[in-house]
Amino acid sequence: MQRYSILSLAKNALSGHRGWQPAWRSHPLKDRYEVIVIGAGGHGLATAYYLAREFGITDVAVLERGWLGGGNIARNTVTIRSNYLRDESIPFYVKSVALYEGLTRELNFNMMHSKRTMIDVVQTWPKLRDLRRRQLGMDIYGSTYERITTEEVRRRIPALTGGGPDARLPIICGMVHTDAGVNRHDAVAWGYARAADARGVEIHQQTPVTALIRGANGRIAGVETSRGTVKAGKVVVAVSGHTTTLTETVGLKLPLRTMNLTAFVSEPVKPLVDVIVNCPDSGFYFSQSDKGEMVIGGAPDQGQSFRRDIKQHVFEDTVTAMLSLFPSFKKLKLMRQWGGHLDIAHDASPIMDETDVPGLFVTAGWWGGYKAIPAGGLTLAHLVAKGVPHPLMAPFTIKRFRHLDFVMETGTTTAR
């Protein structure tokens, strides 16, 4: 791997930028690997990387239907945080946030990590009670949550001029989560891909997996792709919303529903808001990107959906809510909109486990899985390599459903 540094930049600038190597290679597709990872998104690439780095398993192929990093890792709002409710969830996300903060150095790729804190704007007393409860849990595991007054919220977010005493939902206070930050989603995908490739992992784009193949002994035997059959003793499904579509090809049912979650961005404006603003009672959240765009997210669509688009009334509801608190945003022009289809488990917590088909692993149910990419990849690689769950992911197995031992999570931003 060609290391990136100020020296390599200077050297290549002087030689006319002709010396840069590709960040990852294109290999011919073999017919057998030790591990196949389906999906070159955040979780798939991170799993492949940690398989190689932590456990020395390098005979790994990552198969991607479209292009690398073009799925949900390009369709989220890049928020990294650990303000969750449950004892099972908080340590997992604390680990993930910590791994993210060291990722630039670890992968030698600039993640443009900006630890800018998140402020929750609280407008109802039940929400405040919920967040205070979260605060007590988070205190135990070293995450940060702190209550601030309405005056302090308005001082830190000057554009927040709505929600006064006469509003339908006056602002009660704010909660500050200083661990939260944003980074660059492309860099996460490219950084993991480059580092995994350097350790011998093969990445195959434009290789859609059409079906899983089960051997005569019941174990997973490989996958069927548009470029032919590829055999492997272990297959990892990291395909977000399409998990059930794939697992049903081997007759496996999972407690997942595929939902569409929408987001949109404004035109770039001058620096206006330097924190991530989350308004759970109004139902929207946003942050300002380095380019100056407001990156805005809202509520999920009603009903299941595999369409990656936005519904007009969801869009209007989100904008209405936003204008009630940020009336000056009425002048903003919205530039782009998109949806991402993701699957949500019965209890809104992720599922990472080896399934009832031996050798077939899933990582799914990521409702806001961007923040979980490093810890999700690390713990899944642990399971794939060693056959036993990593302690951090042990609560998130499929087996929990057998005993109806749910991890009911409300840490998801706007899942109401």
Binding site: T258, G303, R307, H313, H346, F401
Partner: protein
């Protein structure tokens, strides 16, 4: 936005409706089925890449419950309620 065919009100916009979830199989007698079958009934819903049968409640309209088949890839309502006008 969906235009949902209500048997009483005709095609109405989705924002008048509340989503009632996909139609699940009939509730089994918990004492008569195995634990696995019961857990599957409780936690697994149909999640097809294609038409799904689902319930909607016309809560900001006439208040009726109705069942449609909707394609999850396109949002096309492939089958309206039998008595939708």
């Amino acid at each position: 936005m969906l235009l949902i065919p209500c048997p009483f009100c005709g095609a109405r916009t989705e924002s008048e409706f509340a989503f009632g979830g996909p139609v699940k199989p009939d509730r089994p007698d918990p004492n008569a089925v195995s634990d696995e079958a019961w857990v599957e009934y409780v936690t697994v819903v149909p999640n097809p890449y294609g038409p799904v049968q689902e319930r909607w409640w016309h809560v900001r309209g006439c208040g009726t419950w109705l069942t449609i088949w909707r394609d999850t890839r396109t949002h096309e309502i492939v089958e309206a309620p039998d008595d939708a006008g």
